[in-house]
């Protein structure tokens, strides 16, 4: 069973890439695969290059050294991603100590600094996760992810469990921190609007594949792939009354990865599918400079694609 297939994404230093898609399309699997955190039964093929080094062929020792120090992860649901029986200060300091970045005394100082950086009083280091609110917990996760000065932070639905006000705060915080420290950001969400707001580039995944990839604003407002269009239309857009009055959903569910449809995997739900779509899968095609979509309607032969700008 292929949960993620043929994904080819590149992220330059300091760049922010968003990955969007419905639940079950392989976004989180992709995030876990980056640091080989999937269960042992998972089979990975291809290359995952982190600073030019292939994560997949690394020895265990090197892999552990790269984890968190090279790339760290902000998981969704900080309630469950933090250990309930340890103080948050200890959890933030843990990677520093594990990677030999600091002595216990220095790690405590660094923890205090990190907490203040994410807008929490340093004294909260002694608190347990259950004593914090959802937003505070997510701030702790972010402080933790910054501990070892990684080159890349993977944020897996960092704001999904939060209410809208806190969501905005957390997004601003992440944005500001990665900009200050020139960290690359891979942000995963089902919310295209959130991603478009935060990221430079966007990739839309469907059934384990990237079906559209391009500059964030273009993918959000002028998508080429009908799935990306549906995803974008599913969220009402500020300043666009038409979209607010009629937020469109997409009928049907993403396919079971064990029984993918033939041809283009999106064709059973596609409003503009052609007869050939049931047989022919479409590769990513250039729809505009630096903008690709995997749809039969995006083609040099048909310059006026479904909704090409």
């Amino acid at each position: 069973m292929h949960a993620v297939r043929g994904v080819d994404l590149t992220l330059a230093a300091g760049q922010k890439l968003g990955v969007a898609g419905e639940s079950g399309c392989g976004k989180s699997t992709l995030a876990l695969a980056l640091l080989r955190l999937l269960p042992a039964s998972a089979h990975l093929s291809g290359e995952i290059l982190l600073d030019g080094e292939d994560v997949l062929t690394m020895k265990w020792g090197r892999l552990r050294a790269v984890r968190w120090a090279g790339a760290s992860i902000v998981f969704q649901g900080a309630m469950h991603s933090l250990n309930a029986v340890h103080r948050i200060g200890d959890q933030i300091a843990e990677p520093l100590l594990i990677h030999g970045r600091a002595t216990p005394a220095a790690a405590r100082k660094r923890t205090a600094a990190l907490l203040e950086q994410v807008g929490l009083p340093a004294a909260r280091a002694d608190a347990y996760p259950h004593e914090l609110s959802g937003g505070q917990r997510q701030r702790v996760m972010i402080a933790m992810s910054l501990a070892c000065d990684p080159h890349l932070i993977v944020a897996d639905e960092p704001t999904t469990a939060l209410d809208v006000m806190i969501q905005a705060q957390i997004l601003r915080l992440i944005e500001q921190l990665v900009a200050d420290q020139n960290i690359s950001l891979l942000m995963i969400s089902h919310d295209l609007a959130v991603l478009a707001d935060t990221c430079d580039r966007l990739a839309v995944m469907y059934a384990g594949r990237v079906v559209e990839e391009g500059p964030a604003a273009a993918v959000h407002t002028a998508a080429h792939h009908p799935y990306a269009q549906a995803l974008s239309a599913a969220f009402p857009r500020i300043g666009d009354p038409a979209s607010r009055r009629a937020p469109r959903g997409l009928p049907g569910d993403p396919p079971d990865p064990a029984r993918l449809p033939t041809g283009c995997t999106f064709h059973p739900r596609c409003p503009v599918a052609l007869a050939s779509c049931t047989q022919d899968d479409q590769p990513l095609r250039e729809a505009a400079p630096h903008h690709h979509a995997a749809c039969v309607h995006v083609s040099p032969a048909i310059p006026q694609g479904v909704s090409a700008p």
Binding site: R67, N83, A84, H86, Y128
Partner: protein, 359 residues
């Protein structure tokens, strides 16, 4: 129970308006601060334990009056006694007064620590118990500590490599031993290792706690030598329970997100297990270990009998057929009291292990 837990719940921090509604408890707790909250928690648990102990006192009196048999008849069996002598004996034991009066006498004395005088040993019950208690504490205490530690260790290993051959062997052996009757295993060990069998010489004594001649360190070694087989029996039959509880509670933690976080941080697998998974999985198991410790007082009636161990279990076994009511009641109170005490300790320890409880 309700009588004791009410004060802890009703007491609110001084001043401060208390809102009604479901959030009331949370508000009160948050306003009280961690210290006060913990004291309230302790007070509640202590109250609960006191009420349980009172309930035990009452139960122990009535429960054993249901046992058929007349202690006076049992004690005078095979002896020529006149009805007058039996009546005198009844009067001496206080069995001639109405039940409610016997009950108030018993309760009044029990509260001052006087558990009465044994019918058959003609000695104060508290003294009999005090004499036999150390032997039981030594035997079952050592056994419980060993099998709890063994169960925790094997349970952790089993869960971490669940489904593999080691796990299957581990749980299979533990379950098999668990279903073995302890007296049978004890007798088997005596036959093989005490009496000697084939090439195996009689390595261990068949029973008792000491040979009686040694002093000082030699005496310690002698007692240890006597303990090997009964401890082995108790451990073999007992460790499976801890193993299974630890295994299943660790399995529950295995898919948790915080373990993925720990792995993502670059922790070695052993460290993920030891530092993150086990402390969380330990919480349900701690209660179990303390319940086991509560059994220490009662010892094991069967194992103590098989190995003629001079402990409380054997004493209880002697008291039942008479029935030696004061002794049975006294032992029952001590057994139940130990259980209540250990549960109380578990409750008081719990907040230290799980920051979410009682703060």
């Amino acid at each position: 129970m309700t009588a004791a837990s009410t004060p802890a719940v009703v007491r609110e921090p001084d001043g401060g308006p208390v809102k009604s509604g479901p959030s009331r408890g949370v508000l009160a707790r948050a306003a009280a601060g961690p210290k006060t909250a913990y004291l309230l928690y302790v007070a509640g648990k202590l109250g609960g334990a006191a009420v349980s102990l009172l309930a035990v006192l009452v139960t122990s009196f009535f429960l054993f009056r249901i046992i058929p048999g007349d202690p006076v008849k049992a004690m005078t069996r095979h002896r020529p006694v006149s009805p007058e002598q039996m009546a005198a004996l009844r009067r001496q034991f206080g069995l001639d007064s109405p039940l409610w009066q016997q009950f108030t006498d018993y309760c009044g004395k029990a509260l001052t620590g006087d558990l009465g005088v044994s019918y058959q040993f003609h000695a104060p019950v508290s003294q009999l118990i005090a004499e036999r208690f150390p032997a039981t504490l030594l035997l079952t205490g050592v056994a419980v500590v060993i099998y709890s530690a063994l169960g925790l260790w094997l349970g952790t290993r089993s869960a971490w490599r669940h489904g593999q051959l080691g796990d299957k062997l581990n749980t299979g052996v533990a379950l098999t031993l668990w279903s073995v009757p302890s007296f049978w295993l004890g007798l088997l060990l005596i036959i093989v290792f005490s009496v000697g069998m084939g090439p195996i010489p009689g390595l261990f004594p068949t029973g008792g706690m000491e040979s009686g001649s040694e002093t000082g360190f030699a005496h310690v070694l002698d007692v240890a030598h006597h303990m090997v087989l009964p401890v082995l029996t108790l451990v073999a039959v007992g460790y499976a329970q801890t193993l299974l509880v630890m295994r299943s509670s660790l399995l529950d933690e295995m898919g948790s997100d915080y373990l993925t976080t720990a792995r993502a941080k670059g922790l070695r697998d052993a460290l993920v297990r030891r530092k993150h998974a086990v402390p969380n999985a330990l919480l349900p198991t701690v209660t179990m270990v303390f319940i086991n410790l509560g059994h220490v007082a009662a010892g094991s009636i069967l194992v103590e009998s098989v190995f003629s161990w001079p402990g409380l279990g054997g004493l209880f076994y002697q008291a039942i057929p008479v029935p030696d009511l004061p002794l049975i009641q006294g032992l029952f109170v001590v057994f139940a009291g130990a259980m209540i005490l250990m549960n109380l300790l578990a409750d008081l320890l719990y907040p230290l292990l799980d920051p979410r409880v009682g703060r």
